[in-house]
Every structure is written in structure tokens, then in C-alpha cells.
Amino acid sequence: MQISITINGETVTRDVEPRRLLVHFIREDAGLRGTHWGCDTSNCGACTVWLDGKPVKSCTVLAAQADGHEVKTVEGLETADGLDPIQQGFIECHGLQCGFCTPGMMMTGRALIDENPNPSDQEIREAISGQICRCTGYNNIVKAIRWAAEAEASSEVNA
């Protein structure tokens, strides 16, 4: 079947099998390999992307379900103005080590801040509780998301 998905503002049209997973469409058909696959069972969240602005686990969405919809991946975070604060936060706070879970964590963190510009640590922990990181013990991921929220808040104050 032919489907079209707009990924980071660019429409990708391909003939795919109905069973094709969105994560494979993103990685192999659209060639955006920043989205990772880690578990098959929706437990690890390495594949988290946005579908119409909401984080979803792209290993549990069929590409066909995203036909005609908007997807945003890690590659869509950086703009002409530079890195998104969530990306900068992960660098500043050492929120990553091997980098494999990082794109998914950042997509969830970015969505949380959009919805709740001043999340508590507990709210951050709940937001990323559907995702697994084996390197950081989460301490610095929580700090990174908080850093991004605070950086954004202070830049809005200054603006």
C-alpha cells in the first residue's frame, strides 16, 4: 500500500506492506537513523517519536497508521537557531553516555516541557518512566530535562 508521512516537515511517500512498523519506515524508508529500536515490546522507549505532537513508541505503531500524519524525530529538534534546549540540556548535564536511548528521552522531555513548562523532578521521572536507560541511572536525565525547562523559562523572561 502507498502511504505518505510527513517527517520533520518533509513528506515521505512509499509503497509498504501493511505490517510495516513506523520505526522501520522512519529508519529504513525515510533514512532517519537517529530513532532507535530496542525491545519489540514497547518497554524501552528508544523508538519514541512524536505523532501529531504526542510522543509514541514507533515500534508499536504501524507505518500505515501514520499515513497522512505528522511525525517528528530527533533530527527535527535542531533549528537554524541551533540546538533545542533539550539537546543542550543533555550535553550540559551529562544526560547521556552510550547515546542509544537519548533520542527517545529527548523527544519525551521536549513534549513534557511543552505541556508543563516547569515540571518537578517527580513529574519528569513519571514522564520518562516508560523509557529505559542502562547507563545514567536517570539522575542526569532528570537534571537535563530540568535544565532545558529552566533555560527556556529564563530565555522567555529575557525576551
Binding site: E17, R19, R20, H24, R27, L32, R33, G34, T35, H36, W37, G38, C39, D40, T41, N43, C44, A46, T73, V74, E75, L77, E78, L83, Q87, Q88, F90, I91, E92, H94, L96, Q97, C98, G99, F100, C101, T102, P103, M106, D121, I124, R125, E126, I128, S129, G130, Q131, I132, C133, R134, C135, T136, G137, Y138, N139, N140, I141, V142
Partner: protein, 815 residues
């Protein structure tokens, strides 16, 4: 503490030396531009999938692949029979169906006679697409004849137990190491048993014995294992992109397995999505991708799914331990004796130094000073997946630390003594270093009591004990658990330590280009440790070249010198030392060149960071960048001095380094449900000099989460039929941000005296040290119910059963 404030800062804002520099690697990772094995796509590449055994133990009568071969898109289907038909020009066997393990055993690449664990590789499909490859697996018909599986190491010892390794002509399930031993002992058997017997007779002494199991767990890096192989038939060149923590060692193993000339093999470990020991071994899947490329003439990709990763790749632990400690009633430890039954699975695939069949388990004497210790380890085959040394265990030190730290708490309970006081009474004193343990390790340095007091102060120990007493009076159960660990990391020296005959020493090469920028080529491989950052910092510290001016190259055997790779926390102790030594070689050469240019004797020069100058005349000098240009220029050099500014070295460590630490965990336990809530976790680590304190702390956080996971959640269990009950992340539970507390870290710094920059390894410290802190805290909480020990994982059900006095074997699905 490294005086980070005194380190000069480069134009780019980085410390020219040690300090919490932001990581170079992060720039690509936060943009989604990492390059992991599954991101590698070569022109014309085929995909592949492995058919795995549903049975733990079964005879294979026949395999019919015809329907799979007929599926459009399938290029080839390979079975064990196919591999038996490919002759191998190798000393290690005459065909490809079997391969050597890292412990001188053999392992089936694809099963021929029997399957010996659930998930074992049975057939291999190569297809044009990953979906088609998986579809084809469904079409392969295997005629299995199920056999009784051996799922319990104790059952494996029974005389009437089914024999698993009949392929080797075995008549029982014992494992014989390369030296012909079926058990492995360390320490003083007679002295220890005499000391324990004497204590039994002495009214002023106690003897405590406890059975302690460290159940089977799995490292589960977020990226599973995989490879992309391409054999260029014209040039004979094999290129293998692979998830390997040890690319050079893997290259040599492939040369031995496949009989391919080693100079025609290039192993590339690109970005690795976590290793934790899971990516040390050579798996059948890697070998099959190579065979697949040889057969098809095309590049072939193999990527496991999560189930395959959990059921077939290197597990960890599965140690059934019985510890006995003798002590005086006032709390002086006299002797410890340990008996271990070690479940190695169906093939002895343990990745550890040849002369250490139980790894470094005999460091179980811990951080305490006592004269007598002995251990005996008996390994057996079972119908479980092979492996054994993985999950940040520092070669079985995790098991050893857990044993002694649990045993000390059991002793404290018996003596009705505070476990902190008992530890303080027995810790090795600073003036006893270097300290030789009863099992022969020589600890390099430590200030144990100081570190422990920092941890006790940070957590507010005395206040917590008062709070605990008040709560107990109200029927509330909180617990405080202490773990004081010492580990030995940084294998070799090469004379004592090798893997498959390859000595554990590592090469490194530093070239400074004419403009003073440089490239450092490492043998060790990062799986998230940040080598591209920290190794540049070591060169910066030694030579004064800003870290942003040093490119760190690793993970490609064509681009880097030989070495054994990253596991057992050996990168900093071995290759970190190598980086310092090679920089010092460059510095000495720079001195000769500077002296030539300044027309003085090298002895007249004095080093300041980044510059040689004339003693007493600091104005007359040459910076390392100026020297680099001179080295490549027309300056006439003294007789015997070659141009250019570069050096290489192979670092052979004189001893392990011995990082240590004190961890304290505070929990609240609901006695009605068995639910454990971690309220606080304090970790004070002493890993010597900290090159990048930010990275050290990050690694500690990660290891603490591992400890929380293993202590409370993680378990690879099996049912009686041999089914693995931890085959997905729905069943193998890893800690999330909700189970982990905000970890609090502290430090003391006692440099290693034999490491060039005083650093010790730290990557596994927290994984090694933390499980005992959590379990000790939980047992402390529920000790009013008469509980002295409960096996991990301390799930609500297991805690509740312990409180009820009805513990079960946690690793078996039986009541």
C-alpha cells in the same frame, strides 16, 4: 581531589588536563547522528535471521528447509549440516559447525546433533529484507526429540542427570578447565578449616554459615548485538561491523575460527549502544553473518531482537554460594570459607583470563584484614544459555563482593552488633597497603575508614538508626544497608592474564601533526564511557595540547594498535596509563628537539605545561606546537634522532588497580505487601585520580541503577521444562526512573601508586558494590521478623515470603 580549579582552560573553554569537560561525543548523539551497527547499510546488503530452539534439550532428527528456501526473497538457508560440509583450514576443528569459546570450550554455531538450551541457534536465513528473513523462519520444519532438561546446577551434579555435552564424550556435567581442573580453589584450605573448627570450640567465638545465591541476570544493553559482514571475494578482505567491546581480540578469534588470514580481516566497532559485558563474547550470529557473506558474496546484516538477546547472549552470575565466617564475639573476623556451585550453561563461554576459571572471585575476602580464607568453585553444565562473565561484574567480583558483604551483615546480626561498627573494626588500615590478601591479591592503596566515615556522615547514619528504632516501636519497617567493596580492575599483567593466549596488555599510538594538533589511536573501545573526551584530556594533562586538538580514534582494527579491549573496567587502568606513557615519550622527544633548536643540552630544559624552557631563563623556550613544527621541518636533528613527533607504546600493567567505596542504602518496607521503597542512596567512591569527574559520577549513577535492578527486579528464571521466563522486557524487569532514587555521590581520592596518573577503573564499581547495600537494607528492615537472609531479586512476593518465613528458590518457577 584533582585540583580542577588550577587546570588552565583552552580557547574552546576546555580544561587542558583533568576536569569535568563536556563530552565530545555528545554533539553527534544529541543530533541522532550516532552510527550504531544497525545504522550501517552497505550497497546490495542482505538481511538475516536465526531460527532458535524452542527446547532446552532435544535431539535434532531432521531439518526441512525446502519451504523456507522457496519463499520469494530468500537467498539462502543454512543449517548445521551445511556448516559441517564447509571444511575449515584451522587447528580448532575441521568444519564450521562448531567454534571455540573464550574459555577453551567449543560451542555450536548451528546445532547439529542436539540443542542444549532454549534459544540455541538452529538455522540461519538470508533474505533481501528483514521481514522476509523472519517469515522464512516460520517455514523451517525441525523434527525435535525432546530430552530431559537440566535446569538446576544441583541437579546437574546428580549421577543420573542427563549428560549435556555428549558431543565431547562426557559422561557427566562437570567442566574441565584448560589446566585439567574440575574445581578451582584459592587460599589456604587447611588453615581456614582449622581456624573455623577452633572457633566452633571457643566460647568467645561464633561461626555463621549462610547459603547465598546470586541468581542469573542479564546485562541488557539498550542496543542488542548485531553485525554487518562483507567478504570481498576479489581482494579476500573481510570487513565486519560489529557490536564488540574488544575488536582486536575478536579479529584474532575470527582468524582462528574461520581460518582467514588475520591481515585480511578488519573489525569495526562503530558507536556501541551499551555493553556491560554483553558484547565481549563472540556469538554464533556474528560468525553466521560472515558465513552468510561468504556464501552469498554480498554484505549481510544480522541484528538480534530483544528476545534473542535475553535468551541467548551472555548472561551473568548464576552462582550458588555457601559462605562460612568465623569471628570473635567482640567482632574480629578470623576466617572465611566459601563453596560455590557455578552454573555455566550449555557451553563454557565465560570470557575471562585463562588462569582464572572463576574470574577474580577469590577477591571475596573483601576490604577486611584477617588471616585465613579459602574458596572452592565447582562449575557445571546445564541446559541454559552460555556466558557467565558479564554485566559489569569485573570478572566475578560482583559475586564476591555480594557474598562477603551479605556475610558480614549476617555476622553482625548474630553478634547483635551494628554492621557499621563491625566493618570499621575489620577494615584494612591505611598503613597496611600494599596489602596482600589471604588469597593472594595485592591491594595497591586505600583509606577505607576515611571513606566509610564520609559515607556515614553523608547519609546521617546515627540519626537513621534512631529513627529506625522509633519506627520499629510503631510497627514501621525501615532498613539501612551498608556495602563496603574493593574490586581489582585493569587486567593484566600479561604474564598472569590472557584471554585465549592473548596477553592482557594494550597498545596505543600518539602522533602530533606539524601544526601541533594530534591523533591518539587506542585499542580499547567505548560503549558510552566517553573515551573520545577523557583520553584527549590525558594527553592534554601530559603535553599541554588542548583536548579539542586531539582526535581520539578507536574501534577499528585497521586504524588502531592491538589490545584486548574494554571490559572489567580496564580502559583507564590499562589504556589510560598507556595514554600517559605515550604522551611522556612524545614529551621526551620534544625535549631533544627543543634543546636542538635552543642550542642547549636537553638536561638544561625544564617542563611547564605545554612548553620546554631553559632552566633559570623561562623566556627561552619552545611550546609543544612550535616543537611539532620543528620536528617536521628542516631543523638538523642530533645523530639517532628521527624527524616527526610521535610515539607508540604497549602498556603492560604491573598490577591491577583496586578502586573501592562505601555505599549506604535506606529503604522502607511495607510488611503487608513486601513492597520496597528506596528512600536514599549514598555512594562514596575512591577510584584514585578522576580524569573527568562528571563522567566518573555518571558511570557511578548507572551502576547504582544496575544494583537497584538486580536487588529488586531483574531475574532470568526458568521453569522445569527449560523455558526461559525472562525473555522480554515485559518479564525481565529493568529499573526505570520511578524505581531509582536520586543517587547521592561522594568521593575520597587515594591515587594508585603504580598507575602513571594515579587513576583506577570505576566503570563497574557501582554495579559491583550496590546490590549488597540494597539487600542489606531490606534484610535489616525485616530482621524483626527473624529474617537473616533473602535471595535477590527482592520483589514484593519474595520479601513477603521471607517475612512469612517461607522463602522459595527464586530462580526456579516452583513452589
Amino acid at each position: 581531589m584533582t585540583a580542577t580549579n588550577e587546570v588552565p582552560v583552552s580557547a574552546a573553554g576546555n580544561p587542558i588536563g583533568f576536569g569535568s569537560m563536556k563530552r565530545v561525543e555528545d554533539q553527534r548523539f544529541v543530533r541522532g547522528q550516532g552510527n550504531y551497527v544497525d545504522d550501517v547499510n552497505l550497497p546490495g546488503m542482505l538481511h538475516s535471521a536465526i531460527l532458535r530452539s524452542p527446547f532446552a534439550h532435544a535431539r535434532i532428527n531432521a531439518i526441512d528447509t525446502s519451504a523456507a528456501e522457496a519463499l520469494p526473497g530468500v537467498v539462502a538457508v543454512i543449517t548445521g549440516k551445511t556448516l559441517e560440509g564447509i571444511p575449515r583450514p584451522s587447528l580448532l576443528g575441521d568444519n564450521f559447525a562448531w567454534m571455540p569459546t573464550l574459555s577453551y570450550d567449543t560451542q555450536a554455531v548451528l546445532a547439529t546433533d542436539k540443542v542444549r538450551f532454549q534459544g540455541q541457534e538452529v538455522a540461519y536465513v538470508i533474505a533481501t529484507d528483514r521481514y522476509i528473513a523472519k517469515d522464512a523462519l516460520e517455514l523451517i520444519d525441525v523434527d525435535y526429540e525432546p530430552l530431559e532438561p537440566v535446569m538446576d546446577a544441583k541437579r546437574a551434579m546428580d549421577p543420573d542427570a542427563p549428560v549435556i555435552r555428549d558431543d565431547k564424550g562426557q559422561t557427566d556435567n562437570s567442566i574441565t578447565d584448560v589446566h585439567g581442573h574440575k574445581t578451582w580453589e584459592a587460599g589456604n584450605a587447611i588453615g581456614t578449616s582449622e581456624a573455623i573448627e577452633k572457633a566452633r570450640q571457643d566460647p568467645d567465638c561464633v561461626v555463621v554459615t549462610q547459603e547465598i545465591m546470586y541468581p542469573r541476570v542479564h546485562p541488557s544493553p539498550m542496543e542488542t548485538c548485531g553485525s554487518v559482514a562483507y567478504m570481498d571475494k576479489v581482494t579476500g578482505q573481510l570487513t565486519l561491523y560489529t557490536t564488540s567491546q574488544a575488536p582486536h581480540a575478536h579479529r584474532t578469534v575470527y582468524a582462528m575460527v574461520a581460518g582467514l588470514p588475520e591481515h585480511k580481516i578488519r573489525v569495526i566497532s562503530p558507536d556501541i549502544g551499551g555493553g556491560f559485558g554483553n558484547k565481549v563474547g563472540v556469538y554464533p550470529g556474528y560468525v553466521l553473518s560472515i558465513i552468510g557473506s561468504i556464501v552469498t558474496g554480498k554484505p549481510v546484516k544480522w541484528m538480534e531482537d530483544r528476545n534473542e538477546n535475553l535468551v541467548s547472549t551472555s548472561f551473568a552470575r548464576d552462582y550458588h554460594m555457601t559462605g562460612t565466617v568465623a569471628a570473635t564475639k567482640d567482632g574480629r573476623i578470623l576466617a572465611v570459607d566459601v563453596d560455590v556451585l557455578a552454573d555455566h550453561g550449555a557451553f563454557n563461554g565465560v570470557a575471562q583470563p585463562t588462569n582464572y576459571p572463576a574470574g577474580f572471585f577469590h577477591i571475596f575476602t573483601g576490604s577486611y584484614d584477617y588471616p585465613n580464607a579459602h574458596c572452592k568453585v565447582t562449575p557445571v553444565y546445564t541446559n541454559k544459555a552460555p556466558g557467565g562473565v558479564a554485566y559489569a561484574c569485573s570478572f566475578r567480583i560482583t559475586e564476591a563482593v555480594y557474598l562477603i558483604e551479605r556475610l558480614v551483615d549476617c555476622l553482625a546480626q548474630e553478634l547483635e552488633m551494628d554492621p557499621a561498627e563491625l566493618r570499621l573494626k575489620n577494615l584494612i588500615k591505611p598503613d597496611q597497603f600494599p596489602y596482600t590478601t589471604p588469597t593472594g591479591w595485592v591491594y595497591d592503596s586505600g583509606q577505607y575508614e576515611k571513606t566509610m566515615r564520609v559515607a556515614l556522615d553523608m547519609v546521617g547514619y546515627d540519626d537513621l538508626r534512631r529513627e529506625q528504632a522509633e519506627k520499629r516501636a510503631k510497627g514501621e519497617y525501615m532498613g539501612i544497608g551498608i556495602s563496603f567493596f574493593t574490586e581489582g580492575v585493569g587486567a593484566g599483567p600479561r604474564k598472569d592474564m590472557d584471554i585465549l593466549g592473548l596477553g592482557m596488555a594494550d597498545g596505543i599510538e600518539l602522533r602530533v601533526h606539524p601544526t601541533g594538533k594530534g591523533v591518539l589511536r587506542l585499542s580499547v573501545q567505548s560503549q558510552g564511557q566517553g573515551h573520545e573526551t577523557t583520553y584527549a584530556q590525558i594527553v592534554a594533562h601530559e603535553l599541554g595540547i588542548p583536548p579539542e586538538d586531539i582526535e581520539v580514534v578507536h574501534g577499528d582494527t585497521d586504524q588502531t594498535p592491538f589490545g584486548l579491549g574494554t571490559y572489567g573496567s580496564r580502559s583507564t587502568p590499562v589504556s589510560g596509563a598507556a595514554a600517559a606513557v605515550v604522551s611522556r615519550k612524545v614529551k621526551e622527544k620534544a625535549r631533544i628537539i627543543a634543546a636542538t633548536a635552543l642550542e642547549c643540552s636537553p638536561d638544561d630544559l625544564e617542563w611547564e605545561l605545554g612548553r620546554w624552557h631553559v632552566k633559570g631563563d623561562p623566556e627561552r623556550g619552545k611550546t609543544i606546537q612550535e616543537i611539532a613544527l620543528l620536528a617536521h621541518g628542516s631543523l638538523e636533528l642530533p645523530e639517532g634522532v628521527e624527524g616527526h613527533l610521535e610515539a607508540m607504546t604497549v602498556y603492560n600493567p604491573p598490577n591491577l588497580t583496586y578502586p573501592y567505596g562505601c555505599y549506604i542504602c535506606v529503604v522502607d518496607v511495607d510488611p503487608g505487601t513486601g513492597q520496597v521503597k528506596i528512600r536514599d542512596f549514598v555512594a562514596v567512591d575512591d577510584c584514585g585520580t578522576r580524569i573527568n569527574p562528571m563522567i566518573v559520577e555518571g558511570q557511578v549513577h548507572g551502576g547504582l541503577a544496575d544494583g537497584v535492578g538486580m536487588a529488586l527486579m531483574e531475574l532470568i528464571a526458568f521453569d522445569e521444562d527449560g523455558n526461559c521466563l525472562g525473555g522480554s522486557f515485559m518479564d525481565y524487569l529493568l529499573p526505570t526512573a520511578m524505581e531509582c532514587p536520586e543517587f547521592r555521590t561522594g568521593e575520597t581520592v587515594t591515587p594508585s601508586p603504580h598507575h602513571p596518573i594515579g587513576a583506577k577503573g570505576v566503570g563497574e564499581s557501582a554495579t559491583v558494590g550496590s546490590p549488597a547495600a540494597v539487600v542489606n537494607a531490606v534484610v535489616d528492615a525485616i530482621s524483626p521478623f527473624g529474617v537473616r537472609h533473602a535471595d535477590m531479586p527482592l520483589t514484593p512476593a519474595n520479601v513477603w515470603r521471607a517475612i512469612q518465613g517461607r522463602p522459595v528458590r527464586v530462580d526456579m518457577a516452583v513452589e
